[in-house]
């Protein structure tokens, strides 16, 4: 394996993804990420000069919607997913913007 993932990197990615990993899980994740990066290196061996970067897999563009309201009151369905609710709102731990 050519790529080495450091403890700091795993720690950082964990913070970004809001994941708490045990030491064993961290070791596992390190190995997985190293494998992925090795695979990317394989792709990097290809000569891609003159190839347009692809932003989407389908050769489709300009898919639009007209600006017309067709959705009604969706609050009941939306709030059915709320673990805690109050005043027709999702109740979450205190968060300051």
């Amino acid at each position: 394996m050519a790529n080495q993932i450091t403890d700091e990197t795993i720690e950082y990615v964990g913070i970004l993804a809001k994941l708490e990993l045990s030491d064993a899980e961290k070791e596992e994740a390190k190995k997985d990420m190293e494998k992925m990066l090795d695979y990317i290196d394989t792709l990097n061996e290809l000569d891609t000069d003159g190839v347009e970067p692809m932003s989407h897999v389908f050769p489709v563009h300009n898919v639009f919607r007209e600006d017309v309201v067709t959705n009604g009151d969706g609050s009941a369905d939306t709030l059915a997913n709320a673990p805690l609710a109050k005043d027709q709102s999702f109740k979450v731990p205190k968060t300051i913007g």
């Binding site: 898919v63 639009f64 309201v69 609050s75 939306t78 999702f90 979450v92 968060t95």
Partner: protein, 476 residues
Amino acid sequence: MAKQYETVIGLEVHVELATKTKIFCSCSTQFGGAPNTHTCPVCTGMPGSLPVLNKQVVEYAMAIGLATNCDITQVCKFDRKNYFYPDNPQNYQISQLYLPIARNGYVEIEVAGQKKKVRIHEMHMEEDAGKLIHDEWDDTSLVDYNRSGVPLVEIVSEPDMRSADEVIAYLEKLRTIVQYLGASDCKLQEGSMRADVNLSVREVGAAEFGTRTEMKNLNSFKAIARAIEGERERQIELIEEGKQVVQETRRWDDNKESSHAMRSKEDAQDYRYFPEPDLVPIIISDEWIQKVKDRQPELRSEKLERYKKEYDIPQYDAEILTNSKHMADIFEEAAAICGKPKKVSNWLMVETMRLLKENGMEPEDIDFAPENLAALVELTEAGTINSSVAKEVFEKIFAEDIDPKAYVEEHGLKTVNDDGALEEVLKKVIADNPQAVADYQGGKKKALGALVGQTMKTMRGKADPVAINKKLQEML
């Protein structure tokens, strides 16, 4: 001698677009609905839901880009910005990083007679987040996703501004342009226009920029001006003490007139942008750009010229009237109804501006129907009410949008044209004020004013002062 510092400011301005539906779903964008009533699986980030782009968003964004002299990016796409926050149900925001809709523009501003170009780096389309309300009772936050997915454009300027005055001039200019396009109402208080201020200071003459901070939570022009002054002083103080300015996001508290750091540098922002796989690219043809250009409504400068020519309104007045699209609309409608553009202009220029100022309001907040202003002009023109009563009635129109005809009728405010009734009152005033009468008859012409005043007071303002004057002279 103390060192001289220069403030360097760039702005990120978010504008909520005036579409009927959200950017990626057919939920209503209406402001003020009961919590979570304007939501669906798309704007609440339910697994398996797919966004579909609102065409009107692209057209508004193009219109703003063209009106701010930008190049339209003809191959344009969306990207995903990843972050966790309760107001963001997908855990990412669909935005544009690599190919934003418009780039390389500018607007021209004027401060103290000096013209200056503020360059626009880029402008992109994105979705707004939900709203968090702090619940004092159980010390939690309540999330309303009605605003989640409301379309925004973010307009990013170059660091071209050097003072709060230039910042306000730039914002006013942007606001006028966007309002005239009908692309947004741009109300700072309601959050349909929001500005983040990037500010750094450096010694005058320095080639390099200093370290900048970003200031959020600025919801009025006054707050923006105060925040700029406060942050400039804070940074200069740090530098003078030999300390470092830390690059960070700060939240302005306008009540305390100070700011505090929002995100620490340890919690570095790493958004891991990548191309949005759920949305296909947008290809904008020359024909489409031309179509949007052709549809462009009358711009402010055109309206201003037309007011001068068509209504014979002086330059200064036309500037005030057209400074806000809302005010201009009221002017035109009221003038069309009563056919007296100059009188309508006068009410807007003098009384309306005075009341706005007294109440700390913006022209956007004017809430009366043009019909009522037109009716008031007609009442005064016909001599049904005199000017002091008209002023009183106008205050009612301004505050409560009352129908002036009904109000005047109800409160008996019509000018008394009945000669007999006036004579009765005058007789009494003359009898009650022998000194003033004597003074007048003794040659002091000014004494007449006191008698007219007394008469107006007795008649509770309902008489015509000119008529009183004439009648008094006859009687004495």
